[in-house]
Symmetry: C2
Subunit: 210 residues, 2 copies
DNA sequence: TGTACATCAGTGAACGCGCGTTCACTGATGTAC
DNA sequence: TGTACATCAGTGAACGCGCGTTCACTGATGTAC
C-alpha cells in the first residue's frame, strides 16, 4: 500500500507495534495515571493487545520502563533545543524573561512526562538514574555552550559557564520539584521568584569571575 | 522499678513498643535496605514481633511510613539547627566554608535518611509530600531568619532573605540529589562547586538588592 | 486484700489480590526449492 | 508459480509470589467491688 512509510515487512510491523506500545504507555501517563502504577496489563490493554505479547518486544518490565524514560528524555531535549534557538536572536534584557515564560509553559505542557522522570529518577534500579543523569548532563552542557556563545556575541570575553549553568539547572530542577503540586497562580509566583534567583546567579557569576 | 523513666503502665509500654518499631524501621534503612522495599513483615521481624502486631500501633502501612518520615525530618531539623548555632559565632569569611564542610559531613551521616525522604517525596500518597514540604519550608525560614540576624550583627541593613535562602536551599537540595550515587572524591568536587555557587548567590543577591 | 470481669497488646494462620512472568499453542507471514 | 516447511508476533490460561490485611484467639495487665 503505502510504499513510503512502511515496507510492510514483518520486522517493520514489529517495530511499529513496539512504538505503539510505548506510545500507549506515554498516553496513559499523559492522561494522569500515576506512572509508577503503570502495570504490564494496563499498558497492554491501552496498546490493544494481550499482556504476554509485550514480551515479544521487551525482555521485562524494566526494559519497557527504561525505553519509556529514554523516549521522554529525547522529547524534552528536543523541546529545550527549540526554545534555546528562539531566544538566540533576542536582546539580552528580554532573553531571560522569554526563557522563563517558555520554561513555565513547557513545565505545564510536559507535566506528566516530568512526573514520570522524577519518579524514575529514584527507581531502585540504578539504570534509570544513569540514563536520566546522562541526558540531564547533556542538556546542561548544551546550555553552557550556548551561554558561552552568547557572551562572545555580546563582546564579553569567552569564558566557561560550567558552574553557572549547573547552578541554573539546580534552580530549574527545584522549580519543577516545587511546582508540580501547585495551582497556576502559585506557579507564577514561583516563576517570578525563579527569575530573581536566576538574575542573582548571573550577576553573582559576573562579580565572581569578571 | 524505675519510677523516672517509665511508669510501666500499659499505655507507656505501648508507646515504647511504637518507638521500638519506628527505631527498627529506621535501623533497616540505615543498614542499607532500600526504603521502598521496607515491608510490613520485615519491619515486624526487625522489631522482634509478629507482623499483625503492628496494627496495634499503626492503622496501616502508610501511617507507619508517615511516622517514619516525620521522625526523620525531626532529626534533620535538629541537626541543621545545631549546625547553624555553631556557625553563629564565626567570622563571615569562614562561615560559608565551615557551613559547607558540616553540610558535606551531614549528608554522609544522614545518607540513608535522605534517601528515604527523597523517595517518599514522590510517593503517590500526597500526604508524604505535604509533610516533607512543610518541614523543608520551616527549615528554610529558620535559615532566612538566621541570615537576617547575621546581617544585622554585621552592621548591614536588616533585609529579607526569603528569595536568597530559597535559592540556597535549591542548591543544597540538588547537591544532595546529585551526590547520593557518588563516591567520596566526586562529592568533594561537587562540594567545591557548591561553594562557588553559593558565593555567586550571595554576591548576586547583594548586587540586586543593596 | 481477694475475686470476678474487662481490656487490649500480641499471635499464628489464612485470605484475597494483583503483580510480572511462563507455557503451549495458533495462524499468518516469510523462505527454500 | 506452487508447495512444503520454518519463523515468529500474538494469545488465553495459568503459575508463583509477596504483599497488606483480617480473624479468632491467648494471656497478661488493669479495674471494680
Amino acid at each position: 500500500m503505502s510504499e513510503s512509510v512502511s515496507k510492510n515487512t514483518r520486522s517493520d510491523r514489529k517495530e511499529a507495534t513496539r512504538r505503539r506500545i510505548l506510545g500507549a504507555a506515554l498516553q496513559l501517563v499523559e492522561e494522569g495515571r500515576s506512572p509508577d502504577a503503570l502495570g504490564l496489563r494496563e499498558v497492554a490493554r491501552a496498546a490493544g493487545m494481550a499482556a504476554p505479547s509485550l514480551y515479544n518486544h521487551f525482555a521485562d518490565m524494566d526494559e519497557l520502563g527504561l525505553a519509556l524514560v529514554d523516549e521522554s528524555l529525547l522529547r524534552l531535549r528536543a523541546a529545550a533545543r527549540g526554545a534555546r534557538k528562539e531566544i538566540m536572536n533576542q536582546e539580552a534584557e528580554v532573553a531571560l524573561k522569554t526563557l522563563l515564560q517558555q520554561f513555565g509553559k513547557a513545565v505545564a505542557h510536559f507535566e506528566p512526562v516530568l512526573r514520570l522522570l522524577i519518579l524514575q529518577w529514584f527507581n531502585p534500579n540504578p539504570e534509570y538514574r544513569r540514563i536520566i543523569r546522562r541526558e540531564l548532563s547533556i542538556m546542561r552542557r548544551e546550555m553552557a555552550s550556548d551561554m558561552s556563545d552568547a557572551a562572545v556575541r555580546r563582546g564579553l570575553g569567552k569564558s566557561r559557564y560550567e558552574v553557572e549553568s549547573d547552578a541554573i539547572f539546580s534552580l530549574l530542577i527545584t522549580y519543577v520539584l516545587n511546582v508540580l503540586d501547585m495551582g497556576k497562580e502559585k506557579r507564577e509566583q514561583r516563576l517570578a521568584m525563579l527569575e530573581r534567583q536566576m538574575l542573582m546567579m548571573v550577576l553573582g557569576s559576573r562579580a565572581l569571575n569578571g
